[in-house]
C-alpha cells in the first residue's frame, strides 16, 4: 500500500515538474547574466553598439529637437538676467577692445616714429616747414596725414558688360576682372531694383574703404579709397575723373588696355588729395 505521504510526494512531482524546469532554466539564465554583468568586457561588448547607436541618433536630433528649446531658454535667461550677462561679458569685451586699441596705437606710433626718422625725404622736409610756419608739431601733422584719404585702386569698367578696360592699384589685388564684374552686377541690381531711371549708384561703403563710382557714357570709373573721405575730397576726385575721361577721349585709348593702364598709372600715382 502506498502511504499518504508517498501519494502527496507523487502528486507534487506530477504538478511541479514544469515549474521546477522553468525555475532551473531561469536560474541558469540569471547565472549567465550575472557573469556577463560581472565581466566588464563582456558587458561592454553587448551594450556598446546600442549606446553608440542611441548616441548617434541623439546627436543627429539635437539641433532639431533641442535647438529651439535651447535658444528659447537662452533668450529667456538673457532677458531675465541682463545685468548678469553684461557683468559676465564686460571684462571679455573690454579686454578685446583694449587689446585692439593698444595694437592700433602701437602701429600708429610706429608709423609716426618711422616718418620722423625719415629726415631727408622731400615729404619730411615739407612737413618740417609746415610745422615751423603753422606752429603745429610735426607729430600732429603726421597724425593727421595718417587718416588722410588715399586712392588704393581704380577701375575703368565698360558699362553693361562689366568688362574691365583698365585698372590702377597701389598693391596686388585679387582677380580684377571678377571685381569689375561683381561691381557692375551690384550697380545694375541697385539701379534696377529702385527703378530710378537716369540715377546711378555713386558709392559703396565697405569696412574702411569707400568705393566711389563716377559714370560716363560708355564706361564708369570706380575708385576704392581708404581713410577719411569727405565731400570736398569727393569733389576733387570727381574733377580728376573728368580730366581722366578727357584724356581717354582725346587719346582714344578706351579699348587699348596697355595705353589706358599706363595713363592711369602716370596720373593716379601722382594724385593726392589736397586738404
Amino acid at each position: 500500500m502506498v502511504s499518504q505521504e508517498e501519494k502527496l510526494a507523487l502528486l507534487k512531482t506530477l504538478l511541479l515538474t514544469d515549474d521546477r524546469k522553468l525555475a532551473e532554466e531561469l536560474s541558469e539564465k540569471l547565472e549567465v547574466l550575472e557573469a556577463t554583468l560581472r565581466e566588464r568586457q563582456k558587458l561592454s561588448e553587448k551594450i556598446s553598439p546600442i549606446v553608440q547607436e542611441e548616441l548617434e541618433e541623439f546627436a543627429q536630433n539635437i539641433p532639431e529637437q533641442l535647438g529651439p528649446v535651447i535658444t528659447k531658454t537662452l533668450k529667456i535667461q538673457i532677458e531675465e538676467s541682463k545685468d548678469e550677462v553684461v557683468e559676465a561679458l564686460y571684462p571679455i569685451l573690454g579686454k578685446m577692445i583694449k587689446k585692439y586699441i593698444s595694437n592700433e596705437i602701437k602701429m600708429l606710433s610706429e608709423n609716426i616714429e618711422k616718418s620722423t626718422k625719415d629726415v631727408f625725404s622731400l615729404k619730411s622736409l615739407k612737413r618740417k616747414i609746415k610745422s615751423i610756419f603753422s606752429g603745429v608739431s610735426e607729430r600732429e601733422i603726421i597724425l593727421s596725414e595718417s587718416a588722410q584719404a588715399q586712392i588704393e585702386q581704380v577701375y575703368v569698367i565698360e558699362k553693361g558688360s562689366g568688362i574691365l578696360l583698365g585698372s590702377y592699384s597701389i598693391k596686388e589685388t585679387v582677380d580684377q576682372d571678377m571685381i569689375s564684374g561683381m561691381l557692375t552686377a551690384i550697380k545694375a541690381f541697385v539701379e534696377d531694383a529702385f527703378r530710378e531711371t537716369g540715377h546711378d549708384l555713386q558709392s559703396i561703403e565697405y569696412d574702411l574703404y569707400e568705393i566711389h563710382i563716377h559714370s560716363f557714357h560708355k564706361y564708369y570709373i570706380a575708385a576704392a579709397i581708404s581713410g577719411t573721405f569727405t565731400e570736398t575730397l569727393e569733389n576733387q576726385l570727381e574733377n580728376f575723373n573728368l580730366e581722366m575721361s578727357k584724356l581717354i577721349n582725346d587719346q582714344k585709348i578706351l579699348h587699348d588696355k596697355t595705353s589706358l593702364e599706363q595713363m592711369l598709372n602716370n596720373n593716379f600715382q601722382n594724385f593726392s588729395f589736397s586738404h
Binding site: G162, D175, D177, M178, G181, A185, A188, F189, E191
Partner: protein, 163 residues
C-alpha cells in the same frame, strides 16, 4: 588678350551652375543649391592665335527668360541657353526665348545646350540629337562630356566671327 561676357540662362535645375563649375573649377557636386542673383566666374580659353578671357555670368533659373533682370544681360557678347534633356518643359519655349534675347540684346550668338546627357539611355544620344535638332550641343556637367568644347565653341564664334 580679349575679354568677353557670356551669360548662362535657362530654367531652374537644368545645371547652369554645375556646367560652369565643371568648366571653371573642374568639379561637380550632386548637391543642388539655388543661385540667387548672379554669380560671376572667369576662365581663360586658349585659341590658336588668341587668348580669350571668358567672364561668365551665371543667372538664377527661371522658366521665363523675360524675368531675368535686363541689367544683368546688357553688354553680353554671347548667351548659353541650357536645357535639361530629361525635362522637355525646359526646352519647349526655346525658340521664343531666343527671339526675345536677340530682339532685346542684339544679334549675338546663342548656343543652345542640352545638359545631363549622362542620364540618357546608353546608345540613345544619336537618336536624341536628331529629335532635339534645335540644340547645338549635348553635354554632361556631371561627367564633363563636351563641356570644354562648348565654351571653346563660344570663344571661337566670338573671336573669329567678330562679335
Amino acid at each position: 588678350m580679349v575679354a568677353k561676357k557670356i551669360v548662362i540662362v535657362g530654367s531652374f535645375g537644368v545645371g547652369k551652375t554645375s556646367l560652369i563649375r565643371r568648366f571653371v573649377e573642374e568639379e561637380f557636386s550632386e548637391e543642388y543649391k539655388v543661385t540667387i542673383g548672379v554669380h560671376i566666374l572667369k576662365k581663360t580659353v586658349e585659341l590658336k592665335d588668341e587668348t580669350v578671357n571668358l567672364i561668365i555670368w551665371d543667372t538664377e533659373g527661371t522658366d521665363e527668360v523675360e524675368n531675368i533682370r535686363k541689367a544683368y544681360l546688357l553688354g553680353t557678347h554671347g548667351f548659353v541657353y541650357v536645357c535639361d534633356l530629361t525635362r522637355p518643359k525646359t526646352y519647349e519655349h526655346i525658340e521664343e526665348h531666343k527671339i526675345y534675347l536677340r530682339k532685346n540684346f542684339g544679334n549675338i550668338p546663342i548656343i543652345c545646350v542640352g545638359n545631363k546627357s549622362d542620364l540618357l539611355p546608353k546608345g540613345s544620344i544619336a537618336e536624341k540629337k536628331e529629335e532635339l535638332f534645335f540644340l547645338d550641343i549635348l553635354v554632361s556637367a556631371k561627367e564633363g562630356n563636351n563641356v570644354a568644347r562648348l565654351f571653346e565653341k563660344m570663344a571661337k564664334i566670338l573671336i573669329y566671327k567678330g562679335t
